[in-house]
Every structure is written in structure tokens, then in C-alpha cells.
């Protein structure tokens, strides 16, 4: 029987009520008394020298309050990068300054040149059009391999080249890998593109800066996944505002998917401008603006080799990847193709030696950073496409080849510096074969054939690393932040609890799932627990929500804080029951003395803590409020197996997803309904990447896929119902909940399944197509079939 409350229950989401009735409170719903509006003049040139910005005519336009250019920001810092990668020679990466407003040069279409603050948004836009700009256009670099050729135009004149870093991992293994490949019985090689994407949360970004003259306090309302990170980066590195004078509020946020992790120049602008004009300043991005200002995702070009011995055991993997950074380093950009990508190249397989090379490159394009999965989808896609190709070359069953090479004993130390604690890859594959009804494939193939359609089946595995940690290790790897999480648990006198978490919910359902954990621990109703998040003024310093970390790291902090609460309440209960603390048991909201019928209710104990008349004041303080910071000892390693069946229309190349199945190991599951929903959404984004989505720049750096008219978002009729299962949880061994994280799995695991399925469909029809780069649009598939 499914549980109806606590851990493991599909509790309905309490936050839904406000979202379903139009009572959500998103940043654009907030209006500060007297606010002005900013419109940003953005570059429509990818690369050029700014000769002149004349704002005089614009400043005289109706409603204009002030126009800001780079000169106004001369005294403040640039937008910082939060991760410093060290290259294969031991040198730090090239790190150009990232100004709030363009200084001297523009480096991508969309870069902010000026901010016009006016009484209304339309007036600000009217005036922005009246700014006279003289920009001398320079040749742009868009293609990564061209960008690192000698003589290529330089994105940053003060850097030696467009190479941000050349990273080798593990550099000491390179010789062994080359040797293993040279001596292999079979080597499979694949060159592929991991297509550039735009995250596209449905809520465009919004930022409102406010300044209180009376106190000198600044407040930023922003669409962020991590308000504390924004406060730290913007306060300490850009504007020089101490954290106690800066409050960052991220209220209801309409999806993030990574692109709302980063600190953006617009946030610094509105905070700075509000103080300068002594009025709140609001910026609301349009969707068109989002396409040229939100950090993009993916954009890798990779060559990968897999060596196998005569028995088809994997013996080595070697990759060479070009990773696009765009024109500037976004907050976590350098970490994505390195530590979030190279460390996952072992996948689910026991390959003795692996070497990963990554060349990060500056181009005249929008900055690129983490997008759902961030590095792990790129690793998974390469590896799982490659294994599929190897199986076809060797004439063996792709599932059998995977099973033969699975890691089966845990813990397992990979040759790429991580240690998998638990997993059962055969179990998820067994489940996948069942829920995907693989035994029925031949019959469905025949049905498709009768309709004149080509059917194909694609299967793949994935592993990811979530809850990136511990802080001291990631510090050695270049992180300029800690990666712990925090929680303060406040118990009120009458027994209700408020949990103030550094995690942030922007769709993940924290407000429902977190109380399930506490309710289970104490034995009270979930409705007695309230979650507070998204405001630096009333939550402890936390790192926010990304990398599938909220429950594994934030939830663990909450458990630790609650354990402190329980320990203290047991002391109080022992006093009230006149018993030894060691004999006190807490169950179903009652403290009882073991072996007796003496008990006291949760609410009586919490009341005693705040009305300490009968209370051991000499031993413990009154009140019930505890904070915990949790820093994990390792990543968590969710894993799974995915299957996709497609039909290809041979006349048009159009691919339709007929079935999609996902068997995941997320460890323990708190709310299965929410977990399934996360997988569904991830699959849709992965299918979107595989079939529909792709950023296209022309050779001059103009964005051709600049709106939903040309960037294809997955819609309801592009997708089927999915079959998902997460019954094979092998609990994480190093966090108190045994959870692993589920937010990114779908997006990581699904693209190779789709592409494998399309290649399968074509090859079953006699085609010799071995690979098509994503997105597998009808025209690309048709071109491949007819080339």
C-alpha cells in the first residue's frame, strides 16, 4: 500500500493552490512604490569597437530619468566567475573582465551597452532607440575550432588567444590511454556535436533594485535559484555592498533549469541604479531579450574513441572536446565541461583507463553555462552514442554489450576521480526491459512497417553526479564557493514548525516534500510544517538549488537541524516525565518512557520550551530553534536505463516519439509523484534537445534562432505519455536520507536514447547512416537518408 503521508507518500503539493488560482507571487508581479523602469540598449553587432555613445538626444526624451553607460560603472567590479579551472600545464584559465555594461568593445549580440531608466518601460525603450551609437564592426568568431586557429580575431584583445583553457583529465593517464587504444582489438570512433540550447524557463528573468535612503539598505528582487549566491557575488565582487546591507529576494520563480543560477549584469545594474537615482528600478525581460541575454547551455564538439578487447570488454576511452564559453565567463561556466563532465566519462562501465581533453573557447556569442544536467548530458551522450555505434560495428546486442561492461561491485573507484557508492545497473536495465515492453518491439515494428513507417529502438544508460561536494574538495578543483546547504528549524510554542532553508524551489515542490521528511521524523501531520525559502533576510546562508542537490544536501541539513531539535525536546520531555533522557522515545508526536505508559505530547514539550515554568533552565536554554549546515562527503550517483521507440516517416524524415521509458535509481524517494514529474520534465527537455531545439548563429554572430518562431520548444503533441519507474533505489550511503537527486536525470538520460532509436530505424531500413547530429529535425534526417 502506498503511504498517505510522510516519506514515500505522494502528498499533493500545497503550493499548487496559489499557482492554480492566480495567486502566485512572481518577481514581475511585484511593484515597488515609485519604481522606474530600465530598458537596456543591447548590441546588435557581434564584435565591434565602440567609438561613441551619444546619449544627449535620448536623455531629453519624455520620462527619461537617467541613462547609464560603462562610465557610470567605472568604480565597480566586473561580473565575477565562480570557478577557476587549472589547465593541463598547471596554469589558471584565461579570465577576462566581464563588465556590467560594455567597455570599449561589444563582444556578442545582446551585450548591454547602456541602461535607460525612465518613468515607464515604453518611454525607456523609446529613449534607448534615440541613443546614437558609433560601433566599428570587427570580424566575429563563432566557430570554436576556427576561433583557436592562429590569426583568428580575438574576442578579448588583452588575452593571448581565444583559448580559455586546455584541460587534461587525468593528464597522467594519457599515455596509458593512447597505448590501450593502439593495442585494442577494436576501436570505435565518433565525432559529434552536443547542440547549443536555450534553457527557456517559461518565466523570463526579472530584476527589481530598491534602495532605502533612511537605512542605506539595498534590496534586489530577482528570478534566482540561489538568492544567497547572488547576494555574495554581487555584493562582494561587483558593487561592494556588505551582505548585512543587501537583501536578495527570489520569490516564486517560474522555472530555472540552470540559467537562473548565475549572477547577471542586469541584477547589478538595477541595484546600482536604484541607489543612484534613489528610486526602485525594474527590469522585465522579454522572451526575445532572453534569447540573447540568458546564459545558453551545452555547445560541445567532441571526438571520442572507445577501445575494446577481443571479448568486447571496454579497455580505454579517449575524448577531445571543444566547449564554447561564449564571449565572457558566466558564473559556473568553466566547471561545466571539466568537473561536471570529465568526471562522468566512465558512465556505468568499468573501463580501466580514461583520458578527457577539453578546450574551452571564447567566441562572439552569448555566454554559455550550466543547463539542466550541465556537463553530464554531454558525457552521457558521447558515451552512449559511442557504445551504440560500437555494438553495431561489432554486430552485438547493444544492451548485452552494456551489461557485459557494467560496474557491478560498489563502492567503485572510477579512473576519472570519483567513487560510486551504490548502484545496481542490471536491476534498472531489467526493469527497463519490462516497462518498455522490449519483447513486444518486433510486433510494433511490423505494425509500423504496415503503415509505411520506419521504427527504431534506442536504449542507453546514464549515471550522474549530484549534490556536488564536499566543499574542501571542490575548493581544490577551483570552486570559489562552498557547496554545503543550510536549514534553520524553528519550532513554535504550540508545536508547529517553520523550516528556513537555503535551498530554493522553482517548481520542485520543496514546500510539500520537505515537510514530509520532518513529519516522518517527529510523527506529526505534514500540515504542521511550513517551508520558508528565497529571501536572504530570513533564511540562513545557503547555496540554493541546482545540480539535483536540494533534498540530498538541503534536505540533509534540515534532517540534521531537526535531529538537534529532537535531542533537545527529548531532554525537556525527560524532565517533564521525570525519566532518564536515554529512556525517552518519540513516536507519532508523543514522547514516552520506554517500558512504561508515561507519555507527553509533542505540543506540551514545545510549549514548555517557550513557557519554561517547569523546565531544567540550569541545563538547557529555553526556546526551540536549531540551525545545521550540511556539507556532504561525496557526490550522489543516480543512474538508470532509458528506452525510446521512434517512427520515422521515410518521405519527410519526420521523427515521432512513440514510446519513452525510464528506469531510474534515485536511492530513497520522499514523494514519488514529484519524482515522476521531475523525470517527465527532464525527458521532454532531452527529447527537445534530440529532435527540436538548437541555437544557430550565422558566421557574423547573428542569432538566427532568436525566438519561438525559430527555436522549437517541445509541445504536448511532440511527446507521448512516458513510462517511468524508480523502484530500484539503492540508497545513498553517505547522507541521512539515502537520497540521490532526480531533477536532471531525464534530461541527461534521454537524448542518446532518441538518437540511437533513429539510427536504429534507418539501419533497419538498409541505410548505412551511423550518426546524425542533434537536433534530428525532419530536414536533417531526410538529408542523412538521402546523402
Amino acid at each position: 500500500m502506498p503511504k498517505d503521508s510522510g516519506i514515500g507518500a505522494s502528498s499533493k503539493r500545497r503550493e499548487d493552490v496559489r499557482f492554480l488560482t492566480g495567486a502566485g507571487n512572481y518577481t514581475d508581479d511585484i511593484n515597488v512604490n515609485g519604481q522606474a523602469y530600465v530598458h537596456f540598449l543591447r548590441s546588435d553587432i557581434a564584435h565591434g569597437t565602440i567609438n561613441k555613445i551619444d546619449t544627449s538626444a535620448a536623455a531629453a526624451m519624455p520620462g527619461v530619468i537617467k541613462i547609464f553607460t560603462a562610465e557610470d560603472f567605472a568604480a565597480v567590479g566586473g561580473v565575477p566567475c565562480g570557478w577557476q579551472v587549472t589547465d593541463k600545464h598547471g596554469n589558471p584559465m584565461q579570465e577576462p573582465k566581464h563588465p556590467v555594461l560594455a567597455e570599449g568593445k561589444v563582444r556578442y549580440v545582446g551585450e548591454m551597452i547602456a541602461g535607460v531608466v525612465a518613468e515607464t518601460a515604453e518611454q525607456a525603450r523609446d529613449a534607448a532607440e534615440a541613443i546614437e551609437l558609433d560601433i566599428a564592426e570587427l570580424p566575429a568568431v563563432v566557430d570554436m575550432k576556427a576561433a583557436v586557429q592562429d590569426g583568428a580575431p580575438k574576442v578579448h584583445d588583452d588575452l593571448p588567444s581565444n583559448l580559455c583553457y586546455d584541460w587534461g583529465f587525468v593528464e597522467e593517464n594519457k599515455g596509458a590511454v593512447d597505448e590501450a587504444i593502439a593495442n585494442a582489438a577494436h576501436v570505435t570512433t565518433l565525432e559529434l556535436v552536443n547542440n547549443r540550447l536555450v534553457a527557456n524557463p517559461m518565466e523570463p528573468r526579472v530584476a527589481i533594485g530598491d534602495f532605502a535612503r533612511g537605512t542605506g539598505d539595498s534590496t534586489l528582487y530577482t528570478t534566482s535559484q540561489n538568492p544567497h549566491v547572488i547576494r555574495l557575488l554581487m555584493g562582494a565582487f561587483v558593487l561592494g555592498i556588505p551582505e548585512h546591507k543587501l537583501r536578495v529576494i527570489a520569490p516564486d520563480v517560474g522555472g530555472g533549469f540552470g540559467t537562473k543560477i548565475f549572477h547577471y549584469a542586469e541584477e547589478a545594474f538595477v541595484t546600482f541604479a536604484a541607489k543612484a537615482i534613489n528610486r526602485a528600478v525594474k527590469w522585465t525581460s522579454s522572451r526575445s531579450e532572453a534569447f540573447i541575454s540568458d546564459a545558453h547551455g551545452r555547445d560541445h564538439v567532441t571526438k571520442i574513441d572507445l577501445a575494446l578487447d577481443a571479448d568486447n570488454n571496454f579497455t580505454a576511452i579517449r575524448t577531445e572536446t571543444y566547449a564554447n564559453m561564449g564571449a565572457y565567463l558566466s558564473t559556473f561556466a568553466p566547471s561545466v565541461p571539466t568537473w561536471l563532465h570529465g568526471t562522468l566519462m566512465a558512465g556505468n562501465y568499468k573501463t580501466p583507463v580514461i583520458y578527457v581533453n577539453v578546450k574551452a573557447v571564447f567566441t562572439n556569442t552569448v555566454p554559455v553555462d550550466a543547463y539542466r544536467g550541465a556537463g553530464r548530458p554531454e558525457a552521457t551522450y558521447q558515451l552512449e552514442r559511442l557504445i551504440d555505434k560500437a555494438a553495431r560495428e561489432l554486430g552485438v546486442d547493444p544492451i548485452a554489450l552494456r551489461r557485459q561492461n557494467f560496474v557491478t561491485e560498489f563502492p567503485y573507484e572510477t579512473p576519472v576521480a570519483v567513487a560510486y557508492d551504490t548502484g545496481d545497473y542490471n536491476a534498472t536495465m531489467d526493469t527497463l526491459e519490462q516497462i518498455a515492453d522490449l519483447s513486444g518491439f518486433e510486433a510494433r515494428l511490423a505494425e509500423s512497417k504496415a503503415k509505411g513507417k520506419l521504427r527504431g529502438l534506442g536504449v542507453n544508460c546514464y549515471i550522474e553526479a549530484c549534490g556536488i561536494a564536499p566543499s574542501n574538495l571542490v575548493g581544490q578543483l577551483g570552486a570559489r564557493a562552498g557547496l554545503y546547504e543550510s536549514a534553520t528549524v524553528r519550532v513554535n510554542a504550540t508545536g508547529g514548525l517553520v523550516v528556513m532553508t537555503g535551498s530554493h524551489s522553482h517548481g520542485q515542490g520543496h514546500e510539500t516534500a520537505f515537510p514530509q521528511v520532518i513529519a516522518e521524523m517527529i510523527g506529526i501531520d505534514e500540515s504542521m510544517v511550513e517551508i520558508v525559502h528565497g529571501d536572504t533576510a530570513n533564511t540562513p546562508m545557503g547555496m540554493g538549488t541546482y545540480g539535483s542537490r536540494s533534498l540530498a544536501v538541503g534536505g540533509s541539513a534540515m534532517v540534521r537541524a531537526t535531529e538537534k531539535i529532537i535531542n533537545k525536546t527529548k531532554k525537556i520531555a525527560a524532565h517533564l516525565l521525570e525519566a532518564a533522557e536515554a529512556d525517552i522515545e518519540l513516536k507519532d508526536g508523543q514522547f514516552s518512557v520506554a517500558g512504561t505508559d508515561k507519555s507527553v505530547a509533542w505540543g506540551d514539550v514545545t510549549l514548555a520550551a517557550y513557557v519554561p515554568h517547569n523546565y531544567p533552565l540550569e541545563d538547557i536554554e529555553p526556546g526551540l530553534e536549531e540551525t545545521a549546515f550540511y556539507d556532504p562527503s561525496n557526490f550522489t550517483y543516480p543512474a538508470g536505463a532509458y528506452a525510446c521507440e521512434v517512427e520515422v516517416d521515410p518521405d519527410t524524415g519526420k521523427v515521432t516519439i512513440e514510446r519513452f521509458s525510464a528506469a531510474d535509481d534515485f536511492g530513497n524517494v520522499v514523494n514519488p509523484m514529484i519524482v515522476s514529474g521531475q523525470v517527465h520534465g527532464g525527458i521532454a527537455q532531452g527529447v527537445g534537445q534530440a529532435l527540436l531545439e538548437g541555437v544557430v548563429y550565422d558566421e557574423n554572430g547573428q542569432l538566427l534562432s532568436a525566438s519561438y518562431m525559430d527555436y522549437a520548444m517541445p509541445r504536448a503533441d511532440d511527446l507521448p505519455f512516458y513510462a517511468v519507474d524508480h523502484s530500484n533505489g539503492t540508497p545513498c550511503t553517505h547522507n541521512p536520507l539515502g537520497v540521490k537527486g532526480c531533477g536532471e536525470a531525464g534530461a541527461i538520460g534521454s537524448p542518446p536514447a532518441v538518437v540511437n532509436a533513429v539510427v536504429d530505424a534507418l539501419q533497419r531500413n538498409g541505410s548505412n547512416v551511423t550518426h546524425i547530429d542533434m537536433p534530428l529535425s525532419p530536414s536533417r534526417v531526410w538529408d542523412a537518408m538521402n546523402s
Binding site: D710, M713, P778
Partner: protein, 261 residues
């Protein structure tokens, strides 16, 4: 959007008068024009809504049997009509349900987007575009991408469609915009078959005369086997090459013939 005045006249005469004003522009359902204004790609002084003119809305069968569709009739209304199934089928797949509740046939034909659906129906049916001043044969009306025979201030008041024996429209959508990457309208009349293609050509909607001749002789998909349109002159973009579009013209034509009813 740039600032503009808004007027909503109740008669064609008042609309014509309003459109005579400086920088005045007609507003049909606005489903293309309003997004265009948001991008500040147009700067009208006055928008004259044609949505408040009762004589321009609705559908009826004319004395000669043709279907007369008022210029301000929404796609949803046409989609729900029964007299001309091929036309209703086409209208039922324009945009999405909300767009169909606002967008109008007159607005679509006046804009003549090269990837819009209605131009294929009008050209493929040999329709007559009636305006406040004259009647224009569809063959004379479409003059290339976003270009028509309409004069400034001229309003499409009605579109008259001769109803064919059988017809069908097949749209292969551009994956992002869901406009036609290639759309083919086929209509079989007693005196011959018309085939109109939208989405594909750099010159906008066009008639595929070779296919018309072949299908007039034998109205069957196999009749156009071996025929092809020249890839030169087709649109090539990030969603498909010229050759791909040329290929799709043949595929969609065959499918439209097979599905015609």
C-alpha cells in the same frame, strides 16, 4: 510598441475613411500584426480595427454556390463551417486555438506571409478577393512575399471560394513556428485541378502548373510521380534546404490528393 491611436469603426465606409488618415493601418485579428508591433517593426499612427463591422463577419453560400467568407471572419468560424471541407480543414490547423479565435481571413490574406495557410486555399480555389472598391482574382492578388494587389487603405471585405468537388490541404509544419514549411492545397473542379503551394517559395504562394495538368488528367497520387518543382527559388533556411522544400512539395501534393474529399 510605439504609441498609436485606436479606432474601431462599425461600417466599411467608416473604416475606409479612418484608413485614409495619416499612417493609419488596418487591424484584423492582430495575431501577426501585434507581435510585429511588439518588435517595433511597424509604426502606425492609428490602428483601425475591422472587428466591429457586422457586414464583414460570417459565412454564407452565394447564389452561384460559392462560399462567401466575410473578411473579418475568424479562423475558428471557418474551421467550424461545413460547406467547404477542404477550407475548413485548413482553417482548423492555422496557429493554435487561441489564435484561431482572433485571427481573420482578411488579415491573413492582406499580410500574405509566405508561410501562411490561407493564401494556398485562396489561390488553390481560384477565389475572388472582394475589397471595398473592387474584386481581385486570386491569380492576380498574390504578388510575392508579403506583397499583394491591395492598395493603401483598401480592405478585404469578403473572400469568395468556388467550392470544388473534392479538396484537401496538407501542411508540413516548421517545428518552431508551426507555420507551413510546405503546405499544399489541392482542389478538383469540374474544369480541372488547382494546386497551390505555400511556405516553400521565395516568391510566396504559387500554383504548381505541371501537377495541375497531370492531376487534371488523372486525379491520383501516382499522377505526379516523377514531377518535381525546381529547388532554385525555394526557401532555404535553418529549418530546411531548398532541395528539401522542393521534395516536400511533391510529398505533400501526393498526400493532399490521396486525402481529398
Amino acid at each position: 510598441m510605439y504609441a498609436f491611436e485606436f479606432e474601431k469603426p462599425a461600417t466599411i465606409a467608416d473604416a475606409v475613411a479612418a484608413l485614409g488618415g495619416e499612417e493609419a493601418q488596418a487591424l484584423g485579428g492582430g495575431q501577426t500584426l501585434i507581435p510585429t508591433l511588439k518588435q517595433r517593426l511597424a509604426q502606425p499612427g492609428t490602428l483601425v480595427s475591422l472587428k466591429g463591422i457586422p457586414e464583414m463577419a460570417g459565412i454564407c453560400v452565394a447564389d452561384d454556390g460559392a462560399l462567401a467568407v466575410g473578411g473579418a471572419t475568424t479562423h475558428a468560424t471557418v474551421a467550424a463551417s461545413t460547406e467547404y471541407p477542404g477550407l475548413a480543414g485548413l482553417a482548423s490547423h492555422i496557429g493554435d486555438p487561441a489564435v484561431r479565435n482572433r485571427g481573420t481571413i482578411g488579415g491573413s490574406l492582406a499580410n500574405n506571409d509566405p508561410a501562411a495557410c490561407y493564401p494556398a486555399a485562396a489561390l488553390g480555389s481560384g477565389a475572388t478577393i472582394k475589397t471595398n472598391t473592387r474584386e481581385i482574382a486570386a491569380d492576380d492578388y498574390f504578388q510575392g512575399m508579403f506583397t499583394t494587389a491591395l492598395e493603401d487603405g483598401e480592405i478585404i471585405t469578403e473572400v469568395r471560394f468556388p467550392v470544388p468537388e473534392v479538396s484537401n490541404y496538407q501542411k508540413f509544419v516548421q517545428p518552431a513556428s508551426r507555420f507551413a514549411l510546405v503546405g499544399v492545397f489541392v482542389a478538383k473542379y469540374a474544369d480541372g485541378v488547382r494546386v497551390a503551394v505555400t511556405g516553400a517559395s521565395e516568391d510566396g504562394v504559387f500554383r504548381w502548373s505541371e501537377a495541375e495538368a497531370a492531376l487534371s488528367a488523372n486525379f491520383a497520387p501516382e499522377a505526379i510521380e516523377g514531377l518535381s518543382v525546381d529547388a532554385d527559388g525555394m526557401i532555404g533556411d535553418i529549418h530546411g534546404s531548398k532541395a528539401y522544400r522542393a521534395h516536400l512539395v511533391g510529398v505533400m501534393t501526393k498526400r493532399a490528393v490521396a486525402a481529398a474529399s
